[in-house]
Symmetry: C2
Subunit: 197 residues, 2 copies
């Protein structure tokens, strides 16, 4: 098991422990960072540390609150702090926060919708379409169409943009991405409606 200088540096940053102690902890735990942290803490060398991610993403955290009743917090990532400070990127973040407040997305993208929820929707649409007496060979096609409509309601990236419903939010993000020349990604959002789940 070779312990790299990078691993040691990372463990030192996360624990404040000395270089030799970090190297030893990593050797003993087969290079597992989390186990090494635990070992250092057990030995009383590292202080209890908040679990903090260390990804190098740049971007902005933006908030929007409507009438103290609907609030949105959103994180949008780009590649450099320079782009994060441009007007284009700032405006995008503001627009996205307002979009979530107004149109109430539940997920960023369809990959995040839980499988059980999709199968539950699919079941309901299938019954609906059968009850309408549609021929069996087109039921699946209609159900797929209804599912796509569902995704376009609950997934931010597929929603129509509230300031211009000819574009989706995904289109908007792509435009800012090509304008700034950087990858632009909506990382996460939270939306609280007063008194609601």
């Amino acid at each position: 098991m070779t312990i790299t200088a990078d691993q040691v540096r990372q463990l030192r940053e996360m624990t404040g422990a000395g270089m030799m102690e970090c190297k030893k902890a990593l050797s003993e735990t087969g290079g597992d960072l989390n186990k090494a942290i635990d070992a250092l803490r057990k030995a009383g060398i590292a202080k209890a540390e908040k679990r903090a991610g260390r990804s190098a993403s740049q971007g902005r955290v933006e908030a929007y609150v409507h009438d103290s009743r609907i609030g949105v917090l959103i994180e949008v990532n780009c590649e450099t702090d320079f782009v994060a400070r441009t007007d284009d990127f700032r405006l995008l973040c503001k627009d996205l926060a307002m979009q979530v407040a107004a149109a109430g997305a539940e997920y960023v993208r369809r990959e995040e919708v839980p499988a059980e929820r999709i199968s539950h929707e699919r079941e309901i649409y299938t019954e609906q379409v059968k009850n309408e007496g549609k021929p069996a060979q087109i039921v699946d096609k209609i159900v797929d169409g209804k599912l796509n409509k569902f995704f376009a309601e609950v997934c931010l990236m597929e929603q129509a943009f509230i300031k211009d419903d000819k574009r989706t939010v995904g289109d908007l993000v792509k435009e800012v991405s090509s304008k700034t020349g950087e990858n632009v990604v909506v990382r996460r959002f939270a939306r609280f409606r007063l008194g609601s789940d």
Copy 2:
């Protein structure tokens, strides 16, 4: 199975379906509201509805963003809209949002800390204290003390208030509660740090 007028009214509000349809759906599903919604949707009577809670809580949703890098969204509940609009309550919400941004709580109260995390911390403290050579009969007591310190770091209600560290955040909330004469409860918060988990 008796279906109450209240159940019918609630189902009507949630689906937009007619009174007789709602009554029928509730009868057929034994009064189960969620199943009745599904039945109405399958029959094509109710539109796909966003899942929205209907609790009657009042209060405020407040946001605070520091330097576009740390953002907090928080919901604080009280009993009436009147109290929600008072200066005392507004100031409390602002202070709480800033507290979460600055002191980085992870939970509102200790009941929300997952059991596995607590046992993980307990294990580490126990090893720590044993390694320090403390006598076995006082190990548990020291470990309990360390756990309480851990809760005071990660639970908002147990943290020292950043504007006056002689009081906890819980004390502050209680003071506003007795001043306004209403139950005041921090319901939930979200905290995003740019590039972090």
